[in-house]
Symmetry: C2
Subunit: 183 residues, 2 copies
Amino acid sequence: MPKVSKEHKERRREQILDGARRCFARHGYEGATVARLEHEIGLSRGAIFNYFPSKDALFIELALEMSKRLTDVWLHDGFRAVLDAIVREDPDWLAVQLEATRRIRTDAEFRQLIERREEELKDVRAERLEQVRPKVREDVPVEDAAVFLSFVANGLALRHTMGDPLPDLDVIAQLVDEGVAPR
Amino acid sequence: MPKVSKEHKERRREQILDGARRCFARHGYEGATVARLEHEIGLSRGAIFNYFPSKDALFIELALEMSKRLTDVWLHDGFRAVLDAIVREDPDWLAVQLEATRRIRTDAEFRQLIERREEELKDVRAERLEQVRPKVREDVPVEDAAVFLSFVANGLALRHTMGDPLPDLDVIAQLVDEGVAPR
């Protein structure tokens, strides 16, 4: 029954990612020990590492999954909806990702893992940039526009993590759109 | 000789801030012990804590000093120059600030220290927002525009911390200006 098996695998994968996200948010990257991951996910380390070869791989998958999810929101519902989605994220989970940024530059193994995974996702990413093209003014490379949007999104995530009062997100989205949208 | 004394104090203050910045960048917030701060600054703990009552106070002063410096750059040379200034910052120093964001939300004492210091700087800040007003389109509150710019700046700082390739900063500045500048 390969179909059932595939569904089962997908559910398991989701269970692992959801539990790991909660565990990283609660305990931080270092504090999310294998024992705590087992407890929060509700599976043994053997079962977990059957799906993701290491804690780093699990963490990177979670970060990529969020990035993919937010890009989907942008494609389907616009950048205003992305801002809302960020504010709905658990600030502790955003904080753990911020805390990992230095490692991307300084930890060669961690960086390599990310680059390998991004290489695998290269075609998907190129296709998505194509889909985004009509939303961006023609005189600006779509890659630069995407980085610009990620700056604004990450800036909001940072502020959400700090717990500072948020600005009027309609205004933020308007400023972004007027910069980026086709003339 | 009160004038000499004032200059001496100012130089000492700079010496402490410069050494502390290097120390936080090199060792992280937790790793920057008082002994390491003494070593990097070249002054005894007594002398250091004569200027700043605690390690937290020293750290907060450094973060506010950077924020003030970048606002000055914006006022005098425009937002394009702010982007250059961020890229010239030590990515390890930016990383330490990113790593502290969660504490602003979760550590009441740390937050209170920041809020007290911001309260002291309230008049300066209001005056600066006034200076900024002519650079921002009239239909947008200048506070919201300032937060928007801080999002873009922090997004760039995050990317610099990760060591990822930077986008064309002229394009980024152009997108920002076309959103924010007076119509």
